[in-house]
Symmetry: C2
Subunit: 487 residues, 2 copies
C-alpha cells in the first residue's frame, strides 16, 4: 500500500485552486467535518486521510480533474455511494476523493427495446423507481440500493438479489462512458444490444473497482417489470436435501425463478433473537436449513400454479419437511426481513469475521461445517447463508471479544479459510470485490499469469498508478511482463 | 494487411518438423489438397495461401506451437469450424492455420448448478445434444451449429437466435482457458457464477476474433431446457405496427419470449420463389412486414395461454392483420425454414451485398427503405430481415450482375451505408464481427480513443502481431499511446 503511493504526491493549495477552477469552489471540500463521510467507509472499518473531495458535475470536468492528477502524480479515489464492503471507495492515505454524486441525470429510457442511459452518480433505488414507472425493472438489486450509485455498481460488478434471474452486469451493461487516468474520455455510450466491432473495451471497467478508469455514464438493458411476485420459505433437514430441492426449483420454476436464497439454523436463530419483530416462520420443525424461493412473472395465476406444483413435489419427495408461502406483501416482507436482517443481527452479537465465497455448489456448505468444527474451541458462532442459486456463501464467524483480543481466533480462521477455498478453485470474493481488504490473497483465486495480465493492464491504462492506489492488485512484481512463462 | 504481415516470416521445413515434434506428424498438414478447406472460407470469398495446418490435441500443445511462432515471428490463424462471415478464420497470406478441431472433449456437465466445461473444438450442435440429454440447453444457437465450434463462438462473441432470451456470451461464459501469443496459458477455467477477484481478464478474449489469444477451453452457464416451445407468424402493414407489436410481446410474453425475428415482404417473396417447398403462410393478406414470435417455457399450457393472449391483443389493436400459430413440429419447422432460408434464397438470386447492422430499434427499418430508394435506379433487390428483439438488421442488396461488373452499385452502397449507421451511432457489425472485411470501417462504429485502447491491448498481449494478422484492427497509428487526447 505504501509502495503504491510512494510515487504520488499530496495535493497542495494550488491544486485545490485548480480543481475549484474546474468544478467551482462550492464543489471542492476541504473542511475536516465535510470530509469525514468521504474518508470513512460505511462499516467505519477503513478511515482515510484525504484533505480534499472534488465533486464534478460533468464528464468534461472529470476529464480535466484526472488529467491534472495524472500530470501531477496525485492519487484519486473515485467514490460513488461509498457502500462497499472491502474498503475500496475510501482513501488509504491523502488521495483526492472524486465524488460522482452530482452526476445523477437520467439521460433516456427506451421503452421499445428496454434500456436506460444515465450518469454514474444516479442512486440505484432512484433508477428503480424511474424505470418502474415506465414498466421496467433494473437488472440488479441489493441491500445498499438506497445509497449505492450505478457507477459504483458497475465499477464493482455488483451482484445482489437478481443475479440469478438477470445475470451479470457484464451482460446487462450495453454501453459505457469512462475516463482514463490521463483524462481521455472513452465514449462507448451506445445502447445497442449487439455490437461486434472490435474488442469490448468497456468490459475492462466492469469490476475494476475504479483502478483502470472512472465510469461516468452507462447504458443498461432493462427487463420488463414482473406483473406478480411470490415468495416461499422451505425448511430441510440437510444441505443435501436443500440442494436437491434447488434442482427441483430450477426444473419446475425455470423461467419464473427469481431468487433462491438460503440460510442455516444458526442464521435464523440469530435473526430471531436479535431483531425486533422477527420470528421463526416455521416454529414447529426447527429445520437445519432454509431456502427462500421467489418467483416473478407476467401472469400471477401461472406463477402461483408453478410455485404450488414445485412446493408439492419438494414436500412429497421428503426433502422439504416444512414450508410456508407468503399470502400478502406483509408476509413477503417479513420473510425477506429474516434473510436480509442476518447481517444486522450478526453485528449486534459481537465481532464478525465475514467471508464472501464462491464454491462449487455441492461443496458450498461443507465450508460452514468445517469452520464450525474448527472454531468450536474458540466459542465462536458460525453462520452460513447466501445466494444458493449463484453458489455464493456468506460465511460469518462471530466472537464476543474485540478484534484485538481475538488473535487466536483470527489465526484459526486465516489463512486457513482462503486456502480451503483455493484448494477447491472457489472465489475468495464472490461479489464484494477486493478493495483494500484482499489484494494479499488475490493469488488464492487467480493464477499468477492471470494476475500478471492484470498488472500489465493497470500499467497500460494508468501508468502513474493514480487511480485508487493500494486497491485490488498486490504490489506489482518487478518484471516487465510478469505473466510470461514461456521462454 | 501487408503491413501487418511485413514483420512476420514464412514457416520453413524446419518449422514443420518442429510442429510435428509437438503435435505428431499426422497432425501437421502440408499437402495442397489437405490445406484447401483450411485456406478457404465457407462463402468461398476469402482464400488464403497457408502451406501448413497444425492440429494440436491439448492446451499444452497449443502453448508450445504458439511459443515457437512468437519466438520465430510466424503468423498464426486460429481456426474453429471456419463458418465466419467476415473472413476472420482463414489466412490472408501464408500464416500457419492452428485448427482446434481435435480438442473436442466435454470435460464435465454440472446438473445442479447448470454448467458445462469443455474444450474449444467441440461442435455447438454436439454440445447441444450432450446437454439436452441432461435436461439443459446451450445458451446460444445459430445456423452454423452443425459445424461451428464453441471456441470460435466465444472468440467471435457469436449472437444468434437465443440472444434475446439468454443474453450475450459476456454473461454466459463463466470461465475460460486461453493461450497468449507467447504461449502463456491463462487458466481461468472455473465454473463459478460469481467471482469478483480482480479484473475479468477472460472478457478480453470474447469477441477478439483470435487476435489477442487462442481460446482452448471454456465453462458455460446452461439454462434448463424448456419443456415446451411454440411459434407464431404475424403479419403487419408497417414496421411501426410491427414495433408496437413487439412492445406487446415484451409485456405479455416477458419471461417466455425466446425469439422475435422479423422479415419484410421482399424477403418472404424471395424465400417463396427460390426455395423448394416454401410457401407464403399468410397468402390472403400480403403484408408488408412479418414477425416470428417464439415462446418457450416450463409449462406448455401456460405458454400457450400467454401466446394466445398476446396474439389476441395484437390483432384486436389492429396492428397485426393476419397470423398463424404453428400446430405441430412440422409447421414450426416450415415457419423457421422461411426465416432461415432467406440467406440461401438471396444466394440463388444474384450477387449479394450483405450488411449486419445494429441501429436504435425505432430507426431500424428506415435504413432498408432508404437503401431501397437509393438502389432502385440500379435495379437492385433490397431485403431486410433479422433479430428484431436485438435491434439487429440483416440488410441485403441483391444484384443480378457479377461483383466486378457492379462498380456503380457498389459505389452507391458504400461508404454511404456505413456512414448512415455511424451518424445514428449504430453498429456496422452487430454479430458477424470485423475479420478481414471491416477493419477499414471500424472507426465508423468506435471512437478514436476506444480504437486506440484496442491497439494498445493488441500490442500488450501480442507484441509481435503473430495472432490472426490483418484482422479486426486497421493498421496501427504511429503514436506510442494513440488514445491520448489530454495533454
Amino acid at each position: 500500500m505504501r509502495r503504491a503511493l510512494s510515487s504520488l504526491r499530496s495535493p497542495t493549495e494550488l491544486d485545490v485552486q485548480h480543481f475549484a477552477s474546474i468544478v467551482g469552489g462550492a464543489n471542492v471540500l476541504t473542511a475536516a467535518a465535510d470530509l469525514e463521510p468521504y474518508n470513512t467507509d460505511w462499516m467505519r472499518k477503513y478511515v482515510g486521510n484525504s484533505q480534499l473531495a472534488v465533486r464534478p458535475g460533468s464528464t468534461a470536468e472529470v476529464s480535466r480533474v484526472l488529467a491534472h492528477c495524472h500530470a501531477e502524480r496525485i492519487g484519486v479515489v473515485p467514490q460513488g455511494g461509498n457502500t462497499g464492503l472491502v474498503g475500496g471507495s475510501v482513501p488509504v492515505a491523502d488521495e483526492v476523493v472524486l465524488s460522482l454524486g452530482r452526476m445523477d441525470r437520467v439521460l433516456s429510457v427506451d421503452e421499445d427495446s428496454g434500456h436506460l442511459v444515465c450518469e454514474a452518480g444516479c442512486v440505484l433505488e432512484a433508477l428503480q423507481e424511474h424505470v418502474a414507472a415506465r414498466g421496467h425493472t433494473m437488472p440488479l438489486d441489493l441491500g445498499a440500493k438506497g445509497s449505492c450509485q450505478i457507477g459504483g455498481n458497475i465499477a464493482t460488478n455488483a451482484g445482489g438479489l437478481r443475479f440469478l434471474r438477470y445475470g451479470s452486469l457484464h451482460g446487462s451493461v450495453l454501453g459505457l462512458e469512462a475516463v482514463l487516468a490521463d483524462g481521455t474520455v472513452l465514449d462507448g455510450l451506445t445502447a445497442l444490444r449487439k455490437d461486434n466491432t472490435g474488442y469490448d473495451v468497456k468490459q475492462l471497467f466492469i469490476g475494476s473497482e475504479g483502478t483502470l478508469g472512472v465510469v461516468t455514464a452507462c447504458a443498461l438493458a432493462l427487463p420488463r417489470a414482473p406483473a406478480s411476485v411470490h415468495l416461499a420459505l422451505l425448511g430441510a433437514d440437510s444441505y443435501a436435501a436443500l440442494l436437491r430441492t434447488f434442482g427441483v426449483a430450477r426444473r419446475r420454476l425455470a423461467e419464473v425463478l427469481s431468487a433462491a436464497e438460503f440460510l442455516d439454523r444458526a442464521s435464523l436463530e440469530l435473526a430471531c433473537e436479535k431483531l425486533d419483530g422477527v420470528r421463526d416462520p416455521l416454529p414447529d420443525t426447527k429445520c437445519a436449513q432454509y431456502m427462500l424461493v421467489e418467483v416473478s412473472g407476467s401472469d400471477a395465476s401461472h406463477d402461483e400454479a408453478k410455485l404450488s406444483a414445485f412446493v408439492d413435489e419438494a414436500m412429497e419427495s421428503g426433502d422439504v419437511v416444512d414450508g410456508t408461502i407468503a399470502q400478502d406483501g406483509a408476509q413477503s416482507a417479513a420473510l425477506w426481513r429474516l434473510r436480509e436482517g442476518i447481517t444486522e443481527a450478526l453485528g449486534r452479537t459481537g465481532r464478525v469475521y465475514k467471508y464472501d465465497v464462491s464454491l462449487p455448489l455441492a461443496q458450498l456448505y461443507d465450508l460452514v461445517e468445517e469452520t464450525r468444527a474448527r472454531m468450536a474451541p474458540h466459542g465462536a458462532l458460525v453462520s452460513g447463508f447466501g445466494h444458493l442459486g449463484d453458489g455464493n456463501l456468506h460465511l460469518n464467524v462471530c466472537t464476543p471479544g474485540a478484534f484485538d483480543a481475538d488473535a487466536a481466533v483470527a489465526a484459526a480462521i486465516e489463512p486457513w479459510v482462503f486456502e480451503y477455498i483455493a484448494e477447491r478453485r472457489g472465489s475468495i470474493s464472490a461479489e464484494h470485490g477486493v478493495g483494500v481488504m484482499k489484494p494479499h490473497v488475490l493469488h488464492l483465486s487467480k493464477r499468477p499469469p492471470v494476475i500478471g495480465v492484470m498488472h500489465a493492464l493497470k500499467r497500460l491504462l494508468d501508468p502513474h498508478g493514480i487511480l485508487n492506489p493500494g486497491k485490488v492488485l498486490p504490489p506489482p512484481p518487478e518484471e516487465e511482463r510478469p505473466w510470461r512463462t514461456a521462454s
